[in-house]
């Protein structure tokens, strides 16, 4: 056990000794700060509006004005319609609108988990193949430690790295959000426009859900890149394939959705959020349980293939 911890420690040291790793953290920080500034200075004014005690009347006045605008100018249509619908939701459910705050900023930034996926794929793709590239694999594998354990330490290191990035993104978004927008309390309620319409939930729950669901894609694609790296011992190929599939995944599913077997495609199942909030799954007949089983099968295949390639094959030549 202490053995495994030492191996993971070694991997983390190698990881953070490289500039590229720090560039990843810097990039996330810059996006978190930049996004905050853009929202602050170029965001929709109504989002930041503070309503008084008579907020129902204020909302109704707003809606009247928006409707008038729409009659004059046709382009204003879509945005105005959305705002009107939201205002009606607030009035009907007796929920006082809150100004945009740091929590909401954190929630919005959950789309940045795809950037984390990208960075994790890069690290996962390199963590085995780099040892081959440097030739250090030969020194690593002649210690009294099984190859399985070395592989495990590398895989766990990738996950730890992803988790570190995630915590970093959450913390920096929250700080930037708190400084720029303030906070509406410890765990305020937020109103979101989801597929079936407007809903109100507590913000921390929403943050956990939204970041949590995105972890599925992250872990699956990182594991995939890890496998390619273990099999082909080349990081370029692993990065290329994993990123291509991540980007093209939804398109592939859409393209093949006419076939019944398309529900077994990995990317048809990575978005578990499709089963929440009463949404319809991409392909009829799928369920949360079905997707979780499919995901587990893929995961086991990826890990088994990595293991077989890493532990069974000769380490010769470069």
């Amino acid at each position: 056990m202490s053995n495994l911890l030492n191996l993971i420690w070694n991997e983390q040291i190698k990881l953070y000794a490289k500039k590229a790793t720090w560039v990843m953290f810097a990039a996330l920080l810059i996006v978190a700060i930049g996004g905050g500034i853009i929202t602050k200075f170029f965001g929709t004014e109504s989002d930041f509006k503070e309503y008084g005690d008579d907020w129902q009347a204020e909302l109704q006045a707003e809606n009247a004005q928006l409707t008038a605008e729409m009659e004059e100018e046709e382009f204003a249509g879509f945005m105005n319609e959305m705002t009107i619908a939201e205002n009606i939701y607030h009035i009907e459910n007796d929920i006082k609108p809150q100004p945009y705050d740091g929590w909401e900023y954190v929630l919005e930034n959950s789309f940045l988990t795809s950037v984390i996926s990208l960075f994790t794929i890069i690290v996962a793709a390199g963590i085995i193949s780099s040892e081959f590239k440097w030739g250090t694999i030969k020194l690593l594998l002649i210690r009294p430690i099984s190859r399985t354990k070395i592989l495990l330490s590398k895989y766990l290191s990738v996950l730890i790295f992803a988790f570190t990035l995630l915590v970093f993104l959450l913390a920096s978004s929250w700080l930037v959000g708190a400084v720029l927008f303030g906070l509406n309390g410890l765990n305020p309620m937020v109103v979101q426009d989801l597929m079936p319409g407007y809903v109100q939930n507590d913000v921390i729950g929403e943050i956990v859900k939204s970041y949590g669901f995105s972890l599925v894609t992250l872990v699956m694609m990182a594991t995939f890149a890890f496998m390619i790296s273990a099999i082909f011992r080349s990081s370029g190929m692993a990065i290329g394939l994993a990123i291509f599939l991540m980007m093209a995944g939804n398109a592939i599913v859409a393209f093949l959705s006419q076939y019944a077997w398309s529900k077994y495609i990995l990317f048809a199942n990575t978005n578990l959020a499709q089963y929440t909030n009463g949404m319809e799954p991409v392909i009829p007949g799928m369920s949360m349980t079905f997707s979780i089983i499919v995901l587990l099968v893929y995961f086991v295949i990826f890990i088994a293939a990595s293991w077989a390639a890493f532990t069974k094959r000769d380490v010769a030549g470069n």
Binding site: L7, N10, G135, I142, P144
Partner: protein
Amino acid sequence: MEVYILSKTAMQLVNLKKTIGSKPIIKGLDFEIRAGEVFGFLGPNGAGKTTTIRMMVGLIDITEGDVLIEGKSIKRDFKGAIQHVGAIVENPEMYPFLSGWKNLKQYARMVEGVSEDRIKEVVSLVGLQKAIHEKAGRYSLGMRQRLGIAQALLHGPSILILDEPTNGLDPSGIREIRKYIRNLAEKENVAVIVSSHLLTEIELMCDRIGVIKNGELIAIEEVRSVENKEALKEVYIEVEPLETARAYLDNHLSNGVGVGNKELSMSVKREEIPQILKNLIEQGINIYGVRVLQATLEDKFFDLIGENSIE
């Protein structure tokens, strides 16, 4: 020489074979290396030295046969066997972005009981104290070679395997390595295996030399036993006047003499040399220098290896 016969076997190769694809690369090696001995593994490029070493340390599968390290099979008890081994396989590659020290720390963390003091000890043994905190990427080949040896020695192995350790070292570096390899063998009873394609580079540090060619062991020689009284040696004597000396020796030596620029060359037995010199002096010939060529081993191996044909 009897010492070696008494000392225990550190590593044993049993009918070791490797086939890659359908090509037999190693065709059945059988020999053993004893504790406290420096074993030279000599062979031309492509002979199969690195492939054999890779099998010894479990980097590649063994097609047939086995390697026993301190009695333990590398195939069946990898951890039990490899814990006795320190090795450099092919080039001494290091993490270029870590300092020499941090590179060593990586390997120290992978085994039990390597203290900071032990790392320092090994660093000074290979003479790398000054550069140890520089990035390994900036090391010269010789420095990397030293760091590679340090890495192999960290856990105090009883068997040290060095694939071409003299590669990239300057003459003084080779002399130093030779010195502490001899030291390790003699003082700490370590079995050392050094591979090379150059006899001259390992001849002086080895007790025995095994010659491999095309994946087969074609000879094993005790280095010191090659000293043979009856063997003819190439002797060069710088004399003046050259012509008088040549005429005199021509009449007295059965094999005749060769004439160089200022030297005469002749093939004689070692015990004949003093008499020849005495005679020359009695003839009033001045002697400025005598050289005895130590080429016997080299010639022998050259005869064994013959043309270096890579299959």
